[in-house]
């Protein structure tokens, strides 16, 4: 009897699997995601460098679990991406509730491709501005840049993208203020992105966004994000941005360079060299920071290890770096971190 049940079950399983395969041969439901965890040791024995992620000192801490679903039916598609954990909640979703909780949404949008060249997207999307992203699988370095930390994370809105060719496309859209699921002062922002790919391996995005930012100001951010795969081993990335919201409001100018060298498909070494200048406003004087980060990426199947050392120099003492006594201000900060990221 038991054997008969097993036989029936096996036959049904095979039959249903075959049926499913036939029905979804073109575009099955995609599920993907990542899990990340890290250890960080700050050489001042207390957390000093305040940019996003890898925040905890001398602790094996959590990043996030990230789960993304995507489905395409004909010309229509949707993406829903949820994240749970510090990296995907309070550290990157500023409209979190009073207890640091949030709706966990990284991406939630629908897309319709009217033609091969023109598509429209509406919903809540990762921002089109900047080089680095929230998901750890999208970055070479585990800690984040000042440009990422101070720029937008997500934009809710509606946008249209027209591809003139494989080498040129243009996106224009209307958005809420930065990083919010719903607008507090209406659809306040207009943004655009021009993508150009002058030669094979080189892609540049020129981005602009004008409207209500995360600091309560109506500002304009202009951003250049570009990467060039010079050879199969050498890649160079660059991010430069300027946020301007008038003389009496917060603003910055920064640039970050990302040279990387791949020793093999599994092992690569990269540097992030960044200069960030915070503009003077009200009674706050201008200040600048220099940061250097050396990271390795070691891949084994779906797992990536990122050992990383980082040195920051804050000549104007604007970042609040402290010596190991916890009392004396210092211009420099340094840390080591080891992150493990599994992507599926």
């Amino acid at each position: 009897m038991k054997l008969r049940s097993l036989l029936t079950l096996a036959t049904l399983t095979i039959a249903s699997a075959t049926t499913y395969a036939q029905e979804t041969a073109e575009a099955p439901l995609q599920i993907s995601g990542s899990v990340d965890t890290y250890f960080k040791y700050d050489f001042a024995k207390a957390p000093n460098i305040g940019t996003s992620f890898a925040t905890d000192h001398n602790s094996v801490s959590l990043g996030m679990i990230d789960l993304a679903l995507k489905k395409t039916t004909g010309k229509a598609s949707f993406v829903g991406e949820l994240s749970f954990g510090p990296r995907g909640q309070a550290q990157t979703i500023p409209d979190a509730g009073v207890n640091g909780d949030s709706f966990h949404i990284q991406n939630l949008y629908v897309n319709y491709a009217f033609t091969d060249k023109f598509s429209m997207t509406a919903g809540y999307m990762g921002t089109f501005v900047g080089y680095e992203v929230i998901s750890p699988v999208g970055n070479f370095n585990y800690s984040s840049s000042y440009l990422f930390y101070n720029g937008p994370f997500q934009n809710a809105g509606i946008k249209g993208t027209y591809a003139f060719s494989d080498k040129v496309s243009l996106m224009l859209g209307l958005f809420n203020e930065w990083n919010t699921y719903s607008a507090s002062r209406g659809v306040s922002s207009v943004g655009g992105q021009l993508m150009i790919s002058p030669v094979k391996g080189w892609t540049a995005y020129i981005n602009g966004l004008h409207g209500l930012d995360a600091y309560g100001n109506y500002s304009t951010i202009v951003d250049l994000t570009t990467a060039y795969q010079v050879t199969d081993k050498v890649k160079i990335g660059l991010n430069a941005a300027d946020l301007n919201s008038g003389d009496d409001s917060f603003g910055y100018t920064g640039v970050a360079l990302y040279p990387q060298y791949a020793f093999s498909p599994a092992v690569a070494l990269g540097v992030r060299a960044e200069y960030m200048k915070f503009k003077a406003y009200d009674v706050v004087p201008s200040a600048s920071v220099i940061s250097g980060t050396l990271s390795a990426n070691i891949k084994a199947g779906g797992l990536t290890f990122i050992p990383e050392v980082r040195f920051d120099n804050d000549k104007d003492l604007s970042q609040g770096f402290m010596k190991s006594d916890g009392l004396t201000a210092t211009k420099s900060a340094s840390q080591f971190s080891l992150a493990a990221i599994y992507a599926f």
Binding site: L7, Y20, Q30, S32, V79, F128, G138, D232, V267
Partner: protein
């Protein structure tokens, strides 16, 4: 009697499992290595009584139909056509799937009267990574030759890519051979006849 019943059921189960295993794994022709050391899918097909002009016309029709997937690189020289294409390699787990990368390749066809040969080679893998919008996109523009040894860290994944490429190359070859045989494409399913309970039965 019960013993006999159990024996028959066991035999049936094993037979069914063996059948599906055979069907699943016996069809793919493995990729070979050519004189340059490159992986290659190579086949010579005889079609007696079919002229070279007819074969050229059928190949041209195949390229036209596959224009989105295959880009003809050079005009026919003598009787050979070269094209480049790409295959998407998917990672499947039960009912779920996601692209893990794409394999670029070159495709060559040469015809003679009554026969033709074709081969796919220069396979290069480009891994995908998830972008900021949760779409899978190429992580680089420089393809890694599929015959390159990946090292211990990614050996298992690389073997999977080679297997998937073999499967896709076989599927491509099947499609191409059917086109060259000038097989008529299966007509669409006939529209179901309307049901009319009022009619005489």
């Amino acid at each position: 009697m019960a013993f006999l019943y159990l024996y028959i059921m066991k035999f049936l189960t094993l037979s069914i499992l063996l059948f599906f295993t055979t069907v699943g794994f016996a069809q793919d022709k493995p990729l070979s290595n050519d004189d340059r050391g490159k992986l290659i899918y190579y086949e010579v097909v005889e079609l007696k009584d079919v002229s070279q002009d007819s074969l050229n016309a059928r190949a041209a029709a195949f390229f036209k139909k596959s224009a989105k997937l295959l880009k003809v690189k050079s005009l026919p020289v003598d009787s050979m056509v070269q094209a480049s294409g790409k295959m998407i390699i998917n990672k499947n787990a039960l009912v779920l799937s996601r692209p893990s990368g794409e394999v670029l390749y070159n495709f060559y066809v040469e015809t003679r009267g009554g026969k033709y040969r074709f081969w796919l080679t220069d396979f290069g893998f480009i891994p995908y990574q998830r972008d900021r919008y949760s779409n899978f996109v190429p992580s680089t523009t420089v393809a890694i030759p599929l015959e390159r040894k990946p090292g211990k860290l990614n050996a298992a994944e690389w073997t999977g890519y080679v297997k998937a490429t073999t499967r896709e190359a076989n599927a491509f070859a099947t499609r191409f051979k059917e086109a060259m045989m000038n097989k008529k494409i299966a007509p669409p399913v006939v529209k179901a006849a309307p049901v009319n309970p009022g009619q005489k039965w």
